[in-house]
Subunit: 449 residues, 2 copies
Amino acid sequence: MKQKKFLLNENEIPTQWYNIQADMPNKPLPPLHPVTRQPLTWEDLAHIFPTECCKQELNTTDRWIDIPEEVLDKYKFYRSTPLVRAYELEKALGTPAHIYFKNESTNPLGSHKVNSALPQCYYAKQEGTTNVTTETGAGQWGAALSYAASVFGLEAAVYQVKISMQQKPYRSSIMRTFGATVEGSPSMSTRAGKDIITKNPMHMGSLGTAISEAVELAMTTPGCKYTLGSVLNHVALHQSIIGLEAEKQMEKAGEYPDMVIACFGGGSNFGGVAFPFMRHNILDGKKTEFIAAEPESCPKLTRGKFEYDFGDEAGLTPLLPMYTLGHDFRPANIHAGGLRYHGAGMIVSQLIKDGMMRGVDIPQLETFEAGILFARTEGIIPAPESSHAIAATIREALKCKETGEEKVILFNLSGHGLIDMTAYDQYINGDLVNYQVTDDDIAKNHIGV
Amino acid sequence: MKQKKFLLNENEIPTQWYNIQADMPNKPLPPLHPVTRQPLTWEDLAHIFPTECCKQELNTTDRWIDIPEEVLDKYKFYRSTPLVRAYELEKALGTPAHIYFKNESTNPLGSHKVNSALPQCYYAKQEGTTNVTTETGAGQWGAALSYAASVFGLEAAVYQVKISMQQKPYRSSIMRTFGATVEGSPSMSTRAGKDIITKNPMHMGSLGTAISEAVELAMTTPGCKYTLGSVLNHVALHQSIIGLEAEKQMEKAGEYPDMVIACFGGGSNFGGVAFPFMRHNILDGKKTEFIAAEPESCPKLTRGKFEYDFGDEAGLTPLLPMYTLGHDFRPANIHAGGLRYHGAGMIVSQLIKDGMMRGVDIPQLETFEAGILFARTEGIIPAPESSHAIAATIREALKCKETGEEKVILFNLSGHGLIDMTAYDQYINGDLVNYQVTDDDIAKNHIGV
C-alpha cells in the first residue's frame, strides 16, 4: 500500500527557525518612521511589540534562530503536522502530477496562526508583560493568540471587526473559552473607537480601525504589548517551522517540490512554507517555482505597486516597502477574510521584485469549487483562504495533465473551514459571486509615499 | 524534554479489529424479533443493514476480524490518532496521576464516528448498495456518514432531528458539503414523518422519530441500506481501532493504564477504547478499571434496569437486552446530544451485569467546568460529550492527589467542540443548569418486555 501521510518524531521537529533575510540577494528596504521618514530601529518598534520580536524583525544576518525550549514544548502539542500525498485529488483530476499538502489545520485552533502566537506570547511573558492585545478579522489569529496567552499566563484583549464577530460568532466564543476579552470594534474602550462611534454609531468596523484600537490599548496600558499575526518579518520567521518540517517530510517521501504554493493575505503561511525551500534556490541552485495565490478581488501581488505605504487604513503605522493597492483600498466582502489586506509583507515584496516568486489571482467561485472537490476527495473542508492555494494547485496539476509532466507540487493547507460553513452553504445555494477590480478602482487609492 | 505525544507509523496501524464477544465469559443475550420474540439471525437484520455488518453483529466466536484493505487505506487519511500525555492538566490539578488521552478529534470530521462510517459504507458499496441513510441528532454521526458515503461513491440521506438542525446549523452544512441530502426530521418525505407532522405541525423532532424515518426509507427504497453510529456490536467492533492503537502507543510511553475512561451514549467510543484493554483483564489477569461516564440527566448505567427494550422510541426495532431507562424516557435537553439515549449497547450491558466495568453519572455544569480547564491547559476545546470523560478523569486524578497514588489514567477524547461553541457561550454567561432525574421520572417509563 502506498504511504499517504508523513510525520516526524518529536526529536525530528526542527529546533531553529529559518530567517530568509540572511540569504536574500537584496535585503528588504527598511521600514520608515511615519513622521521623520527615517529607517526604524528595533528600539522604535519595541514601544509596542515584544523586544525580541523587534530584533528578529530587523535581523538580516542570522540564518538560524533558536526556538526557545518553552515554545518548542508547546509546539509539540500539535506538531509535527502531517505532510499528505493527495492521491484521491490526483485521481479525480487525472493528473500525472504528484500533489502533496502540508496540513496545518490539524491543531485545535484550526490554522497555522498558532505557530507565531506562541513565541510572541512567550517573549512578551519573558519580558515582564502581563497583557497582550491584537486585532482580528475572521478570528483565526485572535483565537490563536487567546490560546497562546492562556498557555503563558497572560491576559488577552482582542478587537474583532464587528461585522466578522456577527458573521462568525463561534470564533469569538473560542477566544472567550480560552479566557480572552473580546471587543467588537469599533468599541467604546478606546479613544479611536469612541471617535468613530460618535461620528457613525452604525459603523461595523474594519481591520484598519481594529488595529488602531489595539495599538492604542498597548500604548496606553502599562505592561501591555501589541501583537500581529501576519505581514511582519518576525511572523514569517516563526512560520518557517512549516517549511522546515515539510522539507524533512518530503525527504521521507523521496521527493522534492518543483512548485510550492500557498494562499496569500499578508504572507505568514506563504513565507512559512516557501522560504525554507527558497533557500535551496538561493544557495544550492534548485529551480523550485513559488506561487502565492491571492483573491481576484484583492490583487496586490499581481496588480499592486511597489511603494512605501502604511500598514493600516488610518495611516498610523510605520511606512513599509511593499506591493500595495493603497492603504485605503477596500476589498470586497469575500469569505476569505484573512486575504482581505491591501499590502504584502516586506520580504515577499522584495522577492517578487527580484523575480524569485510570483502571484496569481483567483476568482471566489473557483476557490469554492476547488474547496468542495478537495473535501469530497481528501475529506477535509478547507478554510476559504486555503482554497485559494488548492485552486492554484489544481490549475498547475491540470497543466501537467496537458503536458504529461510528473511535477511535484506542494501546497500549504493553512486551515480548516469548520467555522466558515455559512460560506459553503451560500456557495451550494448559488448565492456567491465573483468580484472583479477595475484599474480605476486601484488608481483611486492613496499610497503612503 | 519529556515526550508528550505518541504516534504510530502507517505500518504499525492495526490491520484487524478486536471482537470482544469472542472473549466474554458470558455472551450478550441475543436480540429478539419485536413480534415473534425469537432470537434474530443475521438474515433478519440484513433486510435493512449491510450483510457483513449483520454477520459481525452476531459473531461471538472470531476474536480478530480483518479490516478490509480499502477501509485501512481510508483510515490512513487520519490515523493513527495521537496518544497524548496531559502534563499541563496534571500540573493544574496537582495530581501524581499520569493522565493520557487518545485524541480522536484530530480527523477532519472532528470525532471518532468516522471509524465506523467508513466500513459500513464500504460493505454497503461492496454489496451493490447505491444509497445509505441514517438519523443524526447533533450531527457528528451524520457528518461522518456523509463523508464516508462520498468516499465510496454512495448517495447519502440523513434525517437530522429538527431542533438540532436549527441549534447546530454548521453540521448540516458539513453534510451537504460532502454531497449528502439532509432532511429535518420529522419530514414530509416518509409516511412516519407525514403522520407526525399531520398530528403536530410544530413537532421539533426526536432521535426516535428520525430513526423511524431512516428505517422506512431503507425498507422502501431499492438499493438503500440503513446505518447506525452507536449501540450495536458491529459499531463497537469497528471502533476497537481506537484501543488497539492506544495499546501500542501506551507501550511506546512505557506504561499500562490502571483506568480507562470514556463518555457513554450508546457505547461506540467507550467500547472502542476500552475493549482491547479489557481483553487483557479477561485473558492475562490485568486489573484495569473501566469507567463509562454518562450524564446525570440520562443515567441508564447507574440507575437503569437490565431488560429487553426497544432501541427506538416508537418501538419498531428489535428488542435488545440492555440497561435502559425505558424507550420513552425523554432526557433533558443537555448540550451533549450524543449522550441523550435511553439504553446501553448489548455488550456493555452484559459487562456491567458481570461487574467488569462501571458507570458514573456527571452533572452538566461539572462537565463544562472540566472542558474549560482542559481547553486552557491542553489547548483543545472538547465536545460536550467528551467533557464527561474529562470530568470523570479529573475526579479520579483528584482522588490520587489525596492518596498519593501514581495511577495511570487513559481517557478517550471522542471529539472536539468547535461546532458546539454556543454551549460554551451559555456556560460562560451562566445560562446552563444541571438536570436531576427523580426515581419517579424513571419509574414512569415503558420498558419493552
